[in-house]
């Protein structure tokens, strides 16, 4: 059973490494979107700094959102998803493997590059660890919740924007707490509360979201 998990994880990582151009894409998208903002406003250091938490979090959220397709869409289109659902292994486990692969390929790189973007946005150096930590706790939740959304929309042609409609409202609590943590940290206050909240949401969605995703897959894949 653990084999089924690791084999699927490895397959997904390998597929991503094969399509190398695709590997870096969410990252580049993240960087690009963050740098659009200074171009669109008068980039005074204060304004940038005030916008930074919002811009970084919203961009991370959008980058994850856009990469969600990667989770199930192709498997659905080429019939591999049927094969996964006909597997004697528990579907929840397979879902978890796919979500983990997704986070390793999108969320984690965003976390790693965020310090550079923070410098771009004029964020004071001592706030940067908070940015990293909030993204580290938040991005897995984005993948987990996103998985539910994709599994519901995978059968819909061109469901891209439908997906964002379903998923974005669910992302809002994470966005608020994540961005707020950065904001508060920049003012020199404690961010324990925000971090506990993010950690709690992570634990909750880690236990519930894969089940919901598996159920959703069984429903939508019955074409």
């Amino acid at each position: 059973m653990f084999n089924a998990f690791s084999h699927l994880l490895i397959r997904d990582l390998r597929l991503a490494l094969r399509a190398r151009h695709e590997l870096a894409n969410p990252l580049i998208f993240f960087v690009l979107v963050v740098s659009l903002f200074p171009l669109a406003v008068t980039p005074t250091p204060e304004l940038l700094q005030e916008m930074a938490p919002g811009v970084i979090w919203v961009s991370a959220l959008l980058a994850v959102l856009l990469s969600l397709d990667r989770l199930f869409k192709q498997d659905y289109d080429d019939g591999s998803l049927d094969q996964l659902m006909l597997s004697p292994n528990p579907l929840v486990l397979l879902v978890l493997a796919k979500v983990l692969a997704h986070w390793l390929l999108t969320g984690l790189p965003l976390v790693l590059i965020s310090p550079m973007l923070a410098v771009f946005m004029n964020v004071p150096a001592d706030t940067i660890p908070i940015i990293v930590l909030s993204l580290l706790l938040g991005t897995p939740v984005l993948s987990l919740i996103g998985a539910i959304g994709v599994s519901l929309t995978v059968a819909v042609n061109r469901g891209g924007v439908l997906l964002s409609l379903i998923v974005l409202p669910l992302y809002i609590p994470i966005l608020i707490f994540g961005a707020n943590a950065i904001d508060v940290a920049a003012d020199g206050l404690s961010v324990k509360g925000q971090m506990y909240f993010l950690a709690a949401v992570l634990a909750l969605s880690l236990s519930l979201a894969p089940v919901a995703t598996a159920v959703a897959l069984r429903i939508t894949a019955s074409r």
């Binding site: 597929l15 289109d77 996964l84 006909l86 004697p88 019955s222």
Partner: protein, 224 residues
């Protein structure tokens, strides 16, 4: 229906309705060990829908599918360990090589295979030498042949095949026919659909799905 065989797959009063059209009603199928069953029917008669119901991928509008006497949604594990389904779709990842594709298909069935076994299977289906070619560089028929190799290695007792002859050339067709016969001789069973007559040198039953005309939409009995 010979009761000499052990019963493998059976259905009870299956009903399928799509888009207000009754495709079939009260369908009872029984399939024993070492039996081959062809689902016949014109375009749009519901063959694909039926096979997906038999797999448990689609919910029947009424009735049940039983594996060795038990509802497949209850005995999912045993059923899925014993069955392979190959549908219209390729199930092939263009970025993986032929061998990797086979391996990841086998993984879904928790089967692993030695490199030698895979080589043999590939040779058998005419893909010898293509082990390390990314599948996107294969023609449509070559891709279907990967699935035949998977079928050989999957070690399943029931094969459910939807239009397996698609894209295969004459030699491919002969190969598949032989595979089915061998599988049957080894005690396995097969359900398949095809529009292009297969010449199977073995006993074979068939079930026909009739087209219920569009106008004739009295679905009251099928209490959907």
């Amino acid at each position: 229906m010979t009761m000499a065989h052990n019963m493998m797959l059976s259905t009870e009063k299956l009903v399928c309705v799509r888009d207000d059209r009754l495709l079939f009603r009260d369908l009872d199928i029984e399939l024993g060990e070492a039996e081959v069953l062809q689902i016949e029917g014109a375009n749009g008669s519901g063959k694909t829908s039926l096979l997906r119901i038999l797999c448990g991928l689609r919910q029947a509008d009424e009735g049940r599918v039983l594996w060795q006497g038990e509802d497949i949604h209850r005995s999912r594990d045993e059923y899925y360990s014993a069955m392979v389904y190959i549908g219209h779709l390729p199930c092939i990842k263009g970025d993986l090589t032929t061998e990797e594709n086979i391996r990841s298909l086998l993984d879904t069935r928790s089967r692993s295979a030695a490199a030698k076994e895979i080589d043999e299977a590939l040779n058998k289906v005419g893909l010898g030498g293509y082990e390390d070619v990314p599948s996107k560089a294969l023609s449509s028929g070559q891709r279907r042949r990967i699935l035949l190799a998977f079928l050989l290695l999957a070690d399943a007792s029931l094969w459910i095949l939807d239009e397996p002859l698609t894209a295969l050339d004459v030699r491919g067709v002969a190969l598949l026919e032989q595979m089915i016969v061998d599988h049957r001789d080894a005690g396995g069973s097969v359900i398949f659909t095809t529009h292009h007559g297969m010449q199977l040198p073995c006993e074979m039953r068939s079930v026909s799905l009739g087209v219920v005309p569009r106008a004739d939409l009295d679905m009251d009995d099928a209490d959907v």
